[in-house]
């Protein structure tokens, strides 16, 4: 499988499991003073977790553009040295709101 096929297989799989496929948020964060760049798929749902915003879909999947170059998650110095760290990467997300561990701890 090439990378494009892997990405679409992932999204199609979760779509078939009743997940809403949402677009990536921008990589540069505009409205959160605690975070300069999006560093994980969950960032765009922060207000949902904190209860500041009501939930529209309970199950969501996406591929999120992330950048880890500042703050708590900074991989800049590892880049080039090893073969598995990047500054910019895509995070394939699957998020479930208001649900327990059971929905995710399983192998198929």
């Amino acid at each position: 499988m090439n990378s494009k096929e892997i990405r679409s297989a992932y999204l199609e799989f979760f779509e078939s499991k009743l997940h809403k496929i949402v677009p990536s948020a921008p990589i540069v964060n505009k409205n959160d003073p605690t975070l300069m760049f999006t560093n994980a798929g969950m960032n765009q749902f922060k207000d949902l977790f904190l209860g500041n915003k009501s939930i529209q879909y309970h199950r969501v999947a996406d591929t999120q553009k992330c950048l880890r170059v500042s703050g708590k998650h900074n991989d800049l110095e590892d880049v080039g040295i090893d073969g598995y760290h990047h500054t910019m990467f895509e995070m394939l997300g699957k998020l479930v709101f208001w649900r327990s561990r059971q929905s995710c701890c399983r192998l198929l």
Binding site: N31, T34, L35, M36, N52, S54, T63, T87, V96
Partner: protein, 766 residues
């Protein structure tokens, strides 16, 4: 995936945080996988947090052991989990979001539990494709091929720390993806904040190819088409802005490669004591030339020098602390006054709210000052966003008046920045937006839309918004365009906007419009903006301007009154900036221009065309200047004749000192030159007044100058008397002063200095 290659980790608990081990997750896993493959780890590895504050929780990670069977047989993969083994890596993290980390470090339970899982796509590709590292998947291959072709270097896939060639390949490829996506999402490289982080990443990449791939031209910009192509279907924003991104990156690279070159030259000039480059010098190279310390070290090693790293770190620390102290903000935790979510913004329709309640308050510390933030359940205050500044105004609560200094958004909360917190927090609040100021903001915001449409009509549809500021006094709009906008085009743009204003086009507004429908209607969408599924669409004539916008606008364009562009210029490669004003500001601007014109006419004493009058004046001036020059030459000729006889002999040297009744620099220089013809032992001092300023010139003959009588020094010393400064060559020097009454004294002083020098020269001869 083979189960015998999989391990899962769960949170082992943390006493200090008061958290127990996550047995629930462990038990669940054991249904699917052998119990000895479920491993417990501490907070460092298995408690995920996005930042210093925010949602967080214990996590459970899926790790995969990609070592060959022979190695797996020798050593149990379980001991290599979370141990930095390049072949035993985390692939999927499941985070059980159940806490919020507060600013004071405490964990608070969230209203509900959630599961957030994230899998690194590049790692997944590596695993699925069975290749040796992320970089060996098909995702990255085109970049390696291109760089090899361009630089003539080979990539060998080595992870030896001394193989800088291979490291450079990976750094360049990683970094260009980061930089490109940031620019595509609207963040240009700059000198601060997120823009500076991007500039640093770009420079880091440039330094790697410059030093280790021996490539001295911009390389990164050549890779953008590959990114555009490979992400075309999933992230189309790169392909759609290829030209702009390439230009911005090329210019950044060019300018850094130039400073890199200057820095290298600077290093060539250095000759450090004991062949050790001092910390302050290393810091200068870092700070002024953007040299990372490892680059300085590398070049120093080539020259056989060492560098003072401790000194450099100390200098860096001082700078860091300075900037940290400037930037440090500390947020207190929210104080929850009233439970509730989903803040309601009513400011599109109303500028006051009668019956709001405070949901929460927060105190902010910055540079020793406190400021306060309030969140209301219902607010008419527009929070800064989409380029439009935040509203100001006031709140009334229990008879107390609180000034709202600014309004901003934090995620989905609307924060009112207030001068103080109210005495009573739980009473109903009346909120009033400064409606006068808001009206001016609306004029400028709607005018921005009209101008955006006009720009695309006049310059072409490649014009894309790259930045925008709208406040009560003007509008500023940055957009992609590759050359200067000609004055004739600016005039066309103004005319189109003003025509749209006169047509008094009513605003059409669609709230909660499905985004697909907006796209179909032809609305302009911006890259790097987060659009929900439902959007707000602002239309001023469907054939003219349709934009997705969350800002505030006029009811109809006639309210804007008048639109005037006041400046146009470049802010970055391929990005132009226009500033414009509307309504009252534009009216005042036009009036002040006309006032100036009236003053000009008055000064010119004409009621007719001032341009003609000025041209005539210039013509007259030219003529008069010519006449003056001719007169001056005649005068100087007669003066020369008189002065020839006024030299006084001192010890065989002809000396002349005189305050002249008129003159200018050119004619005086000429006069001195004429008088000195056929003499070598002489000195001349002239003073005169030119345009109300006293002037002094000293010229000495060649033999005198050689003997050490220095015209420059004499002028320098004398001119102080008339409050002046200046000097010059040993033969000829001149300077101006400001006190005309001291001119004669100055000339006399210069003369006496010359005479004294001559005296002492002749004494030493005897």
């Amino acid at each position: 995936m083979d189960k015998s290659r999989i391990y899962v980790s769960v949170f082992g608990g943390d006493e200090a945080e008061g958290l127990e081990a996550d047995e629930e997750a462990a038990d669940l896993w054991k249904k699917w996988i052998a119990p000895d493959r479920v491993l417990y780890f501490d907070k460092k590895d298995n408690f995920w947090e996005m930042g210093d504050t925010g949602p967080c929780g214990p996590c459970s990670e899926i790790h995969v052991d990609l070592r060959p069977d022979s190695e797996r047989a020798q050593k149990d993969g379980a001991v290599l989990v979370n141990a930095d083994d390049p072949n035993v890596i985390e692939i999927w993290n499941l985070v059980f979001i159940q806490f919020n980390r507060k600013a004071d470090g405490k964990l608070v339970e969230l209203p509900a539990k959630h599961v957030d899982t994230g899998m690194g796509f590049e790692r997944l590709c590596r695993v699925v494709q069975g290749v040796a590292s992320n970089y060996d998947s098909d995702l990255f291959k085109p970049y390696f091929d291109f760089i090899s072709e361009a630089t003539g270097k080979k990539y060998t896939g080595s992870y030896d720390l001394n193989n800088k060639n291979d490291i450079a390949f990976r750094v360049v490829i990683d970094h260009i993806r980061a930089v490109t996506f940031c620019i595509a999402d609207g963040q240009l490289p700059s000198n601060n904040g997120a823009g500076y982080v991007i500039r640093r990443i770009l420079r880091r990449a440039a330094r790697y190819y410059f030093s280790f791939l021996d490539y001295k031209e911009p390389l990164l910009c050549q890779l953008i088409p590959i990114i555009g192509e490979s992400f075309g279907d999933i992230f189309p924003e790169v392909k759609a802005q290829l030209g702009l991104i390439e230009n911005v990156i090329r210019e950044e690279e060019k300018s850094f490669l130039r400073t890199l070159d200057l820095g290298l030259k600077r290093m060539d000039q250095l000759d450090p004591a004991d062949k050790n480059l001092g910390g302050q010098l290393v810091f200068e190279l870092y700070d002024t030339f953007g040299f990372p310390v490892d680059l300085t070290r590398l070049i120093a090693t080539e020259k056989g020098w060492t560098i003072d790293e401790a000194g450099f770190n100390a200098a860096l620390q001082i700078q860091k602390e300075r900037s940290r102290a400037d930037a440090q903000k500390s947020y207190g935790d929210w104080m929850i006054v009233r439970e509730g979510s989903d803040v309601q913004f009513i400011g599109y329709d109303q500028l006051q709210a009668e019956n709001s309640y405070i949901l929460r308050t927060r105190t902010l510390q910055q540079k020793g000052k406190e400021s306060y933030q309030i969140v209301l359940d219902v607010t008419p205050f527009y929070p800064e966003g989409g380029g439009q500044v935040g509203d100001t105004g006031y709140l009334e609560i229990d008879g107390e008046r609180i000034t709202v200094l600014n309004t901003m958004k934090e995620n989905d909360l609307v924060l009112h920045f207030v001068d103080k917190l109210p005495e009573t927090l739980d009473a109903p609040v009346k909120a009033f937006v400064d409606s006068n100021r808001r009206a001016f903001i609306e004029y400028n915001h709607s005018a921005t839309h009209l101008m955006h449409a006009a720009l695309r009509q006049v310059l072409g549809t490649h014009v894309q918004q790259k930045g925008s500021l709208v406040n009560e006094s003007y509008l500023r709009f940055d957009f992609s365009h590759f050359q200067k906008v000609e004055p004739a085009d600016l005039r066309k743009i103004e005319n189109i906007v003003n025509e749209a204003i006169r047509r008094d086009i009513p605003r059409r507004e669609a709230r909660n419009l499905p985004v697909e429908q907006a796209k179909a209607a032809g609305a302009m969408m911006l890259f790097g903006e987060k659009y929900g599924e439902e959007v707000r669409m602002i239309t001023f004539d469907p054939d003219f301007s349709i934009e997705l916008c969350g800002g505030c606008h006029v009811n109809s364009t006639g309210q804007i009154g008048y639109f005037k562009i006041i400046s146009e210029g470049a802010i970055a490669a391929g990005v132009r900036r226009i500033e414009a004003i509307t309504a009252l500001e534009a009216e005042h601007w036009v009036q002040s221009q006309l006032d100036q014109l009236d003053e000009l006419k008055e000064a010119l004493k004409t009621s007719g065309d001032p341009v003609k009058a000025v041209l005539k004046l210039q013509e007259d001036l030219k003529l008069h200047k010519k006449q003056v020059d001719e007169l001056m030459i005649a005068q100087v000729a007669s003066l020369q004749h008189e002065l020839k006889h006024e030299f006084v002999m001192h010890e065989g040297i002809a000396v002349l000192g005189k305050v002249l009744p008129f003159g200018d620099h050119k004619s005086i220089k000429n006069l001195a030159h004429q008088l000195s013809q056929n003499q070598s032992s002489y000195a001349i001092v002239f003073g005169w007044i030119d345009s109300d300023k006293p002037q002094l010139v000293v010229q000495v003959g060649e033999s005198l100058a050689k003997a050490g009588v220095h015209a420059g020094n004499i002028v320098k010393e004398s001119v102080k008397i008339m409050n002046g400064g200046g000097g010059g060559q040993p033969f000829y020097a001149t300077a101006g002063g400001s006190d005309t009454s001291k001119l004669e004294e100055t000339v006399k002083h210069a003369l006496s200095l010359i005479e004294k020098s001559i005296q002492s020269l002749s004494n030493s001869d005897k």
